[in-house]
């Protein structure tokens, strides 16, 4: 979720190095998480001017919104999840 939020805060796309610093993860762990997120279709990898980027997909945006809704509703009612 932190990775998805980070990409969103960067305007929907971010370089792997930016995600690496923002998410405070090791390179190996980050690579693993990014692969998982790409495989489930929440983000996609693309190249721009010779640099690798990751961007949120429509499904990724929907997931963030859904997650936020879940968090806000459960917190509003004070339900322990």
């Amino acid at each position: 979720m932190d990775i998805l939020r980070l990409i969103q805060n960067e305007g929907g796309k971010a370089k792997p190095t930016r995600i690496l610093y923002g998410a405070n993860l090791s390179y190996t762990a980050l690579k693993e998480y990014l692969d998982v997120l790409v495989n489930i279709g929440l983000i996609e990898k693309f190249t721009e001017k010779g640099h690798d980027f990751y961007k949120l997909t429509k499904k990724g945006y929907e997931f963030i919104n859904k997650f936020r809704e879940i968090k806000r509703l459960t917190e509003a009612f004070g339900l322990t999840v």
């Binding site: 806000r72 004070g78 999840v81």
Partner: protein, 212 residues
Amino acid sequence: MEEMLIPLMFYGVVSFVYLAVAVIGFLVTFFAFRVYRIISEKSVRNLSISFFILSIGFLVLTAISLFTYIQINFYNSYSGIVVSNYYGFSIYYWLSLAAYLLLAFTYLPKGKKKSRRLIPILFVPLWYVDYTQFHLLSLLLIGFVIFRSLQNSLKRKNLDSYLVTFAFTCLAVFHVLILLTTFTPFMYVVANSFLIVGFISLLAMLVRVSRK
């Protein structure tokens, strides 16, 4: 017959109040159930079920209030009013108590023996529920829910949780004021105003939560 103390002209208005409350209750049900489908959390499921039961209760009140209004204002007849009010209010009492019980259970602190904490509720005379008993029992159960909700609000300090606490408080005030209807029928109007304000507060919370 407490129902006879209600100002007659208010029956039409109050039907729409109960309908609006039921609709907002169903919206809470829908939102909570949608969340439950994703995270499969029992507390969210219980919240959804309790608001569903509560909303059905308010739909019953809508039906009997509308029936009373139509009978008196359009047919100038009192036929069937006493019976419909008796059964209608009884169903509403039972459904609301079931909803409040489930809500109170949902708000019990998490623990291994959570269900055992419900044992004292078995001593509540639920088999003898009438007008006064219903409102007093409701106050007791909602009081606990308000306490837990207030704890959460003070911890979170966000508007959404304050809106929920305010809504439960309005619901409690509604039950207190309904009891005072015995002294002045006008209190019924004030009580229902608190009820709708409380549910509007819940609606505001839902709008905020679902906002992108």
